[in-house]
C-alpha cells in the first residue's frame, strides 16, 4: 500500500468511501447511499471535514464514536435529522464535562462509515481516520475496544423527536441488549455514541487508517473502470487479498432469527471454475465461504462479493439469482485473531461448526492463491 493518508473529506472523497465501505461491509452494514447523501449535504453546507490520524492525537484527547443503530431499511425510509446526529455528542459532553476532540466511525463497513461526517462537519470537529472493527459486524460488543476491556459507557442515544438517553452498561454485551430495546421504541433506528475513548486508547486499540483504506478501495473501483483495467484484479493487488471464487448465484435462502437476516447462498462456478460450487453463509454480513465442506474463508476475515463486470460490491439484501460475482477475501485486523477476538466474532459465536483458520493458510492449502 501507498503512504497516502486522507487529510480532508470533500464530496468526491465521500463518494469513494461509500463504495469502499460497502466492500469492507462484507455484504452487511446497510447500503451506504443515505450515509453518503447525508455526508455530502453536510459538506456542502458546512465545508470539507478535517481528517486526522491516530498518531496526531494527544494521549488525553477525548474521541467519541458516533453511529446509527437499528435497521438500515428503516434508515432509508426514516432518514435521520441533522439534530439527531449531534444530540448524542451533546449528551456525552455534558456527562463527561468536557469537549470532544475528535469524532470517529465505530465501523468502516456500510453506512456507518459516513455517519460521523455529519456531526464533524456541523460542529467543526475533526474526524479520526480509524474505526473499531476494520469491517462491519452486527452487534455492539463486536468492537476492538471491547476486546481490550475498554468501558463502553457512558452511552448516549437520540431519536428524531428530540428524545435522548444516557445509559451505563456493565459491558458491550449488556449495551447491545439495552440499546437494541431502546432503538425499537425510537422507531427502529437511532443515533448512538458509545465507547468514548482517549487518544491513548485509540492508539492502542482502534483499527487505524481505515477511512483511508475505504477511500483507496473506492478510488480503485472508480478509476480502474475509466482506465479499462480489471477493477477486481486492481483491488486484490492493492490490498493483498484473495480471489476465492468466480461464479453465479443459483440459490439464496434467507430467514429471520432474533432480528437478524441469516441464510446461505449457493454459487456455481463459471469460466475456469465450471463444475465447482461455493456456499456462502451470512448473518447480515458474509461470515463463511465453503467449497465441498472445506472452508475458503472464515469470519472474522473479510468476505466480499463483487460484481464480475464492475467490481462493485453486492450486499446480502441485494444479492439475487443469476448475479455474476467474484468472491474475494481479506485478512482481518490481528486483534480479531486473538482468543477473545475469536470468542467474540469467530465462527462458533455465529453458530457455524468450523474452526477458524486464517485466510492466508486456507488459500495456501488450496494452492491457488489469487
Amino acid at each position: 500500500m501507498t503512504n497516502f493518508k486522507l487529510t480532508e473529506l470533500n464530496e468526491q472523497a465521500v463518494q469513494y468511501i461509500a463504495v469502499g465501505a460497502a466492500v469492507l461491509g462484507t455484504g452487511g452494514g446497510g447500503d451506504p447511499h443515505i450515509g453518503k447523501l447525508m455526508a455530502q449535504e453536510a459538506i456542502r453546507k458546512y465545508g470539507p471535514v478535517r481528517v486526522i490520524s491516530p498518531e496526531d492525537l494527544e494521549d488525553d484527547a477525548l474521541v467519541v464514536p458516533l453511529s446509527m443503530i437499528g435497521a438500515p431499511t428503516v434508515m432509508n425510509e426514516k432518514i435521520p435529522s441533522t439534530e439527531q446526529m449531534t444530540k448524542p455528542l451533546d449528551l456525552i459532553e455534558k456527562e463527561l464535562g468536557r469537549k470532544v476532540n475528535a469524532i470517529m466511525p465505530i465501523e468502516v463497513g456500510g453506512g456507518n462509515s459516513l455517519v460521523p461526517v455529519i456531526a464533524a462537519a456541523e460542529r467543526g470537529i475533526p474526524l479520526l481516520d480509524a474505526d473499531a472493527m476494520g469491517r462491519a459486524f452486527p452487534e455492539s460488543q463486536m468492537v476492538t475496544f471491547y476486546l481490550d476491556g475498554i468501558d463502553c459507557s457512558p452511552i448516549t442515544m437520540a431519536d428524531e423527536r428530540g428524545n435522548g438517553v444516557l445509559m451505563h452498561a456493565i459491558d458491550g454485551v449488556w449495551e447491545e441488549r439495552m440499546a437494541r430495546a431502546i432503538t425499537i421504541q425510537m422507531g427502529g433506528s437511532a443515533s448512538i455514541c458509545d465507547y468514548p475513548v482517549t487518544g491513548a486508547q485509540v492508539k492502542q486499540s482502534a483499527v487505524h487508517h481505515t477511512l483511508t483504506l475505504a477511500y483507496e478501495i473506492g478510488k480503485i473501483l472508480y478509476e480502474s473502470k475509466d482506465m479499462r483495467q480489471n477493477p477486481i484484479e486492481a483491488l486484490l493487488k492493492h490490498l493483498h487479498g484473495y480471489a476465492l471464487f468466480h461464479g453465479k448465484a443459483v440459490d439464496i435462502r434467507r430467514r429471520t432469527e432474533g432480528g437478524f437476516t441469516r441464510g446461505e447462498a449457493v454459487f456455481e462456478g463459471t469460466d475456469a471454475q465450471k463444475g465447482r460450487t461455493m456456499r456462502l453463509f451470512f448473518q447480515n454480513e458474509f461470515l463463511l465461504a465453503t467449497e465441498d465442506g472445506q472452508s475458503l474463508a472464515v469470519t472474522p476475515d473479510l468476505i466480499s462479493l463483487l460484481d464480475q463486470d464492475t467490481g462493485m460490491p453486492i450486499t446480502t439484501e441485494n444479492l439475487k439469482y443469476g448475479a455474476r460475482v467474484t468472491a474475494v477475501g481479506f485478512p482481518c485486523d490481528p486483534k480479531w485473531r486473538t482468543a477473545k477476538g475469536l470468542e467474540t466474532v469467530g465462527p462458533q459465536y455465529f453458530g457455524y461448526d468450523v474452526p477458524y483458520v486464517p485466510i492466508e493458510k486456507l488459500t495456501a492449502q488450496k494452492g491457488d492463491a489469487r
Binding site: H33, L37, A71, T73, I79, T82
Partner: protein
Amino acid sequence: MSHMNLSNNEEIYRIGVDVGGTNTDAALLDSELNTIHTVKVHTTRDVNEGIIESIRRLLSESNVNPAQIHYAMLGTTHCTNAIVERKHLGKVGLIRIGAPATTSVPPLADWDDTLKAAVGRHAYVVHGGYEYDGRTIVDLDEQEILDCFMKMKGEVEAIAVCGVFSPVNTSQEKRVEQLAKQVFGADMPVTLSHEIGSIGLLERENASLLNGALLNVIAGVVKGFEDALQGFGIDAGVYICQNDGTLMRSEYALRYPILTIACGPTNSIRGAAHLSGLNNALVVDIGGTTTDIGVLSQGFPRQSSAAVEIGGVRTNFRMPDILSIGIGGGTIVRADAKKDQVTVGPDSVGYELLKRGHIFGGDTLTATDVAVKLGRYHWEGVQADELDESICRRADEIITQDIEDAIDRMKTSADAVDVVLVGGGSILVADKLEGVAKIVRPDHYDAANAIGAALGEVSGETKRIYSLDEMTYDQAIEDARSHAINQAVLAGANRDTVQIVLSEDIPIAYLPGNALLVKVKAAGRL
C-alpha cells in the same frame, strides 16, 4: 377474414401499437389472441403521425371493420424521452411529510441542476410521518402545509406528496391531498408516493416528482392516441403499457405516467412469450443497434432488484431486468489489412443500414452483410459474393460469442435454456448457440413488441411489511396475495383469469417481531 363478419358472433379485435426510437409497430389480434396482421412504419418527429400511419396501414391491409376493434393498447417512450431530454416537463411542488426526521437530506439532493430547473424548486419538508409499524411519529401541522401551498401557488402544475413510511400508513398523504384540492381546486393533480413506489423514501420521492412532471406529456400522448382511433372510427377501450408487462386504463395512465417508463423491452418479452407459447425462457430481441436480453419467468419479465436511475435520478419502482449489448443488424465490422484481426462494433450504422451496408451498395461492412454472406438470410435483389468469407466467418464467431456470453449472464442456472429470438436483427443469429436447449423463431418475430402491447393483461400489487409475531408466515403471504388479486380485479382483470405472477418476501434485519417485507403481483386478462 371478412366472411367471419357475417356470423352472429362477430369477432372482436384488439390493436397494439408500440412506439420505439426508430420504428412504430402495430399489431391486430383477434379475441383468441391470434395475430391477424402486423405493420412497421418509421417513428416520426411528431410521434402521433407515425401512430396514425401505423393504424391506417393496419386497417387497410387487414380489411378489418374498425367498429369491431374493442381494445386499443399503446406502448410509448414519450415519458422516458421527456425526462432524458428535460423537455415538456411540468413544474411540480413537493411536500415531504418528514420533519423532524429526514432533515439531513433535503429533497432533490441527488438531482442535477438541469432536471431541478425543469421540474422546479418548490420542495418543502413538513412535520409528520409514521414509524415502520404504522405508529405516528408526529401529527400533521395543517397550517404549515397550507403555508407551503401558498408559496407554490401559481408556480406549479402538479403536487407530489411523500411521507415517511406512507406505504405502511397512507392517512397523512391522503389528508395532504385533500388540503391541496381545497387550496388549488379539484383539478390540481396530486401524486401520492405510496401509490408509486415502496420503502425507500428518497427513491419514492424522486419517482413521485418525476410522475408529477410527466402529467402533461402523458395527457398529450393519450389524447393523440384517442383522437387517432376516433378518426378511424374505432371506439375502443384505451390502455397504456406499463413497464412490468401489464396494462393500465388510460384514465389511470393519466395519473401515473411514470409507470410507462421502459415498457418497450417488456412488450417484446411478453410478445415473444405469446408467440412462442413458452412461459420460461430467455428472450433475445435484436434490433438495429442493440440486442436486449430479458428473462421470461412464468410469462412475465423478471424484475430488476437494483435501484433504477432515470435521467440520473435514483428511483425505486419496478423495471424489467434487461441486459443490453451493442450488437445489432447495423453493427459495423472492421478488419485490418492483414485480415487476421476482426472487430465487431460497438458502433452501428443504425437506420442508415439500407444505404451504408455493403450488400445495399454502401461502403460499410455490417453484421447484416455477414449474415447474408454466410447464407443465413436471403435479401431479395442483393448478393454478397464479393465479401471476404474469412473475415465474415471471423466476425460471425465474435457475434455468436458475444450473444452466447450475454445469454449466459442472464441465466439463473447452468442448465440449457430455451431462447426466443425476436426483432428485425434476429436473422444474424446461428441456429445453434452454446448453453441453449432450443431456439424458437416465432412468426411475426419483428413485431413482437406490438403484439406484446396488445395482449392485455392487467395487474395488481401488494408491497407491505408484516410482523410475524402477529400472524404466521402463511397468513401474511395469503393476505398479500388476496390484496394483490383484488387490486388486479379493480384494474379491470377478469377474476377467473387472475394469477399470482410474482411473490417474494424479504426479512428485514434488525427489527423485532420478525418483520417481513412481502411483494406480490397478480395479473389477469381483460
